[in-house]
């Protein structure tokens, strides 16, 4: 006989599965926003579980900035093959070529902000009425008040003062034509929970998360991977160091940390001892104190 009180990881998993099933039951054309990071990889695995033995009943949507790590793309394609999932890729480069957006210039130019336009274009094109994302409430202050079902107006914008109350596990996905929802099944997970679950379930993660040697350079107290997308400034020089990434995003703004952790167990041990939050390695949040909130209002992931 099993105990009634579940170890909490199972509760988090059951909650995420419940939320994804609600999405499929309540929306016509959901998509899963795939970024290549551990949270969205976990999300894909949980989607697989939610509808097992059936296939994942919605496509994965990847907004490719053109500045991805090659490891990310290889891992993505293999995951899609193994889970027999459907993948849709849309390119920031297309929006630049069409003159929809103007690329930032200068040494810290990043396409991270431009993603928003490509994403909203893609959601419109696919007539997607729900976009499932891997965001967690523990990541950043502005996300602590985010809902599981987050309403976006017809411009894809988030209004923090006009969010619906969420009671019990009753999620209201009703909306007007042209509006859509962002849905966050991992809302209640913390970074540690993600790793404990990966460990417990033996889920494979991209090699970027594990310690490896790479050419890197320092800029604005961050360690960045050497890449043609980031020309070196006078005084900067690359060094070959043993590093790993705590988050995986666009190469231009994903910081590395010095690490010797080569297994999930070692990563957990490292994180337990570490004293910097995950987003502390992201350049895009450091721009202003309310950077995340501002980007969310515009329709960022």
């Amino acid at each position: 006989m099993t105990s009634y009180i579940r170890p909490y990881l199972n509760q988090l998993e059951a909650e995420a599965i419940y939320v994804m099933r609600e999405v499929v039951a309540q929306f016509e054309r959901p998509v899963l926003l795939f970024s290549g990071g551990k949270d969205s990889i976990l999300l894909v695995h949980l989607a697989r579980r939610a509808f097992y033995p059936g296939r994942i009943p919605f496509p994965l949507l990847h907004i490719d900035t053109g500045h991805n790590f090659v490891e990310t793309l290889e891992f993505r394609d293999r995951l899609v093959r193994e889970l027999e999932a459907q993948l849709i890729v849309r390119y920031v480069q297309d929006a630049i070529d069409q003159g929809r957006v103007v690329e930032e210039t200068g040494p810290s130019a990043s396409r991270n902000v431009l993603q928003t336009v490509t994403l909203l274009d893609a959601l419109t094109e696919l007539k997607a009425d729900a976009a499932i994302g891997g965001a967690r409430r523990d990541e950043e202050k502005a996300r602590a008040k985010e809902r599981f079902f987050s309403h976006r107006d017809r411009f894809g914008q988030w209004d923090p003062k006009n969010q619906r109350p969420e009671l019990w596990n009753l999620y209201n996905g009703r909306k007007h034509l042209g509006e859509h929802f962002r849905v966050f099944p991992l809302s209640n997970w913390t970074e540690m929970d993600i790793w404990y679950f990966i460990q417990q379930q033996g889920i494979e993660m991209p090699s970027l998360y594990f310690a490896h040697r790479r050419d890197v350079f320092r800029r604005d107290s961050m360690t960045l991977a050497a890449t043609p997308y980031l020309p070196l400034l006078p005084g900067e020089r690359t060094q070959n160091r043993l590093i790993r990434f705590r988050t995986i995003g666009d190469m231009t703004c994903t910081g590395a940390v010095e690490s010797t952790a080569t297994t999930v167990e070692e990563i957990i041990a490292e994180l337990t001892a570490s004293r910097v939050t995950e987003r502390g390695t992201r350049a895009d949040d450091k721009r202003t104190e309310t950077a995340m909130e501002d980007r969310k209002k515009q329709g960022y992931f």
């Binding site: 909490y8 097992y52 523990d138 602590a144 923090p160 969420e166 009703r174 209640n188 939050t277």
Partner: protein
């Protein structure tokens, strides 16, 4: 770490009670705040010219709040200790934000009510307690904060405790604890501190780590709202959902609502493999033996433990929208996975959350709470909220704006003329209780006893041999070391049920009480032997509904009434026939013979010893005791 469980709690307090500071202190002292976050806080604190590190900066997330200096929405915070993971729903305490408190409380198992030691019990402290009890949060923890500003004075603390206890006795709250703290300095938050040697209770975190979780969950009544049917290929058809309450095992009989069709659970499927048992909170796929037409919004339940089914019911509504309740309007009602249309058939009264007075009302405004009767376009399958939070709560949605406009808690079916006919007894619950699962699980007790728990329910006419067979049976079980518990009809009427007569209503109450007592003994691992005439099928069904399938064994001692009259061991038939006893079963009151008893013993044909052999054989066959 992986073996830890999860506690969701809510914090309520007004701006000045130091709620954000308390949360900041919990996160800081439990080491959930990391270096860069702390550095950002220090930067911001310095910029505003605060004399000390403002812990509240950690939780006041949105820009608008920082500008106004108040929290305006529910924020969720996370931390964990080696014992537990915690989810804090941090809700603002302003009068205009009842909406947020109700939202945060809906998923919480514990509420921290903050009281400023200098100010004592204010109206808003009472409001928080009232909302916590309305939402059926099982545990309340009153944190008396700012003890540093009253010189850590014990009598100040004691006066607040007494004051609040007096108020709480009027609410449906059983477990309430009081802790004197200083969130600013940290006393009794995570560490005990040295300033209050007179306080010998646990620190606040210690209390959070040790309070019983799961008390808010109903583990008895199996309810499975279907989220969707899964049919990936020809050979697989299952129903996906999260078990709202109770538990289920393969092989058990279930009923699909609303169709009322029955089938058995063939398997409980998950990605990780098939389960031998699934219980409240599990997300699973249930595959049935038969092809039933089941879809989203339907509910699977146990045949002998049905929810209420009604399209008109009483409820408490908490209004959450700027647009007030339109008593003539139609709303969408979302309950479990079911969505129906609802109209307000009656607005009974509004509750003043500060005085708890009832007032007549024409409508409900934002943040107001009232009692109403709703009528739905299709029936709901529900349990009263105080028995089952998962199947008693619902939301109302405006069909035009699509906003969630109200939270509702069902109290029960609305009484209508055709409802007054006798029904299966319900399970009433006193207002001041919280179900405490016995700390030792039944499984552990069963393992030590060396047998499973069960309820053997003897039914039959007076003189049909129930007591004779049951006594002999108990001696046999006792002799082999079994844990037995014997409840007899005559004996309970000397004490527990001494106030009851023999009318149909009193008989029903008689059985209800003994069935509940028997269930408690069952939970303690016993083989419970009950001998009651129990002439009515619906009463026996009720007793059956309290137990997991396979553990209730109905034993019908079948005997010709003429033989019973001749036996008449207590001289009762003689009296009844002389008209000295009213409503005597078999003479002046009916006996409804069981149609599906697990065991029928024809006591006019077999001896008591043979009957006992028959029962022992059946218990062994069912795996309740070991076969010898």
């Amino acid at each position: 770490m992986l073996s830890g469980d999860l506690l969701r709690f809510t914090t309520a307090g007004s701006v000045d009670d130091g709620k954000s500071t308390l949360i900041g202190r919990l996160l800081l002292d439990s080491k959930a705040i990391l270096e860069d976050t702390l550095a950002a806080m220090e930067r911001a604190s310095k910029q505003r010219g605060d004399p000390y590190l403002d812990l509240a900066l950690l939780t006041d997330g949105l820009r608008a709040e920082r500008e106004q200096g108040i929290t305006i929405d529910v924020a969720y915070r996370y931390f964990s200790t080696p014992r537990r993971k915690f989810i804090i729903a941090d809700t603002p305490g302003h009068v205009q934000y009842t909406r947020n408190m109700v939202t945060g409380a809906s998923t919480a198992e514990l509420a921290i009510v903050l009281i400023d030691a200098r100010k004592g019990v204010l109206t808003q402290s009472k409001r928080h307690g009232f909302l916590a009890s309305l939402l059926q949060i099982p545990h309340i923890l009153v944190a008396v904060n700012k003890m540093d500003l009253v010189d850590f004075d014990e009598s100040t603390f004691q006066a607040i405790v007494e004051d609040y206890r007096g108020f709480a006795s009027k609410l449906a709250v059983q477990d309430i604890a009081f802790i004197p703290i200083s969130a600013l300095l940290g006393d009794n938050v995570v560490n005990r501190g040295v300033n209050m040697p007179w306080y010998d209770g646990p620190s606040l975190l210690h209390h959070l780590e040790h309070v019983n979780v799961g008390a808010g969950r109903n583990l008895v009544d199996f309810r499975f709202p279907v989220q969707m049917a899964l049919r990936p290929h020809q050979d697989f058809r299952g129903f996906a959902g999260q078990i709202a309450s109770g538990s289920i095992t393969p092989g058990e009989e279930v009923v699909a609502l609303p169709s009322g069709r029955t089938s058995r659970v063939r398997k409980i499927s998950t990605y990780g493999g098939e389960l031998a048992e699934a219980s409240a909170g599990d997300s699973v796929v249930i595959v049935l033996e038969d092809e039933l037409d089941v879809s989203r919004g339907d509910m699977l339940v146990r045949r002998h433990n049905l929810p209420q089914v009604a399209s008109r019911f009483e409820c408490i509504l908490c209004w959450m929208n700027e647009e007030p309740l339109n008593p003539e309007g139609t709303y969408l009602l979302q309950h479990t996975t079911r969505q129906v249309r609802a109209t307000i058939s009656e607005l009974n009264y509004r509750i003043d959350v500060d005085t708890l007075h009832r007032e007549p009302a024409q409508t409900l405004q934002l943040n107001e709470i009232g009692r109403v009767q709703l009528t739905t376009s299709q029936p709901l399958f529900f349990d009263p909220y105080q028995i089952n939070r998962a199947t008693g709560g619902f939301i109302l949605i405006d069909p035009y704006t699509h906003n969630t406009v109200a939270a509702g808690m069902i109290r029960g079916q609305a009484q209508e003329l055709d409802d007054i006919a006798p029904r299966t007894p319900e399970r009433p619950k006193s207002s001041n209780v919280v179900w405490e699962s016995t700390a030792i699980m039944r499984a552990a007790r069963e393992e030590r006893n060396g047998h499973q728990a069960a309820m053997l329910w003897f039914t039959g006419l007076s003189g049909s041999g129930k007591t004779t067979v049951a006594r002999l049976l108990e001696r046999r079980l006792f002799a082999v070391g079994a844990q037995t518990f014997y409840l007899d009809g005559d004996n309970v009427r000397h004490g527990l049920n001494g106030d009851l007569g023999f009318s149909a209503a009193d008989r029903q109450e008689n059985i209800r009480r003994v069935a509940e007592v028997a269930r408690l003994a069952f939970d303690h691992g016993a083989i419970v032997i009950c001998t009651f005439i129990s002439p009515f099928e619906r009463d026996r069904k009720f007793a059956r509904s309290l137990l997991p399938e396979g553990r209730f064994i109905e034993i019908f001692t079948k005997c010709d009434i003429e033989l019973c009259k001749r036996r008449d061991p207590k001289g009762l038939y003689a009296k009844a026939l002389r008209g000295e006893i009213q409503e005597f079963t078999g003479i002046s009151s009916p006996y409804e013979a069981p149609t599906a008893a697990e065991l029928v013993i024809e006591t006019d044909l077999v001896s008591a010893e043979d009957a006992v052999e028959q029962i022992i054989g059946e218990l062994a066959r069912r795996g309740i005791i070991e076969r010898r």
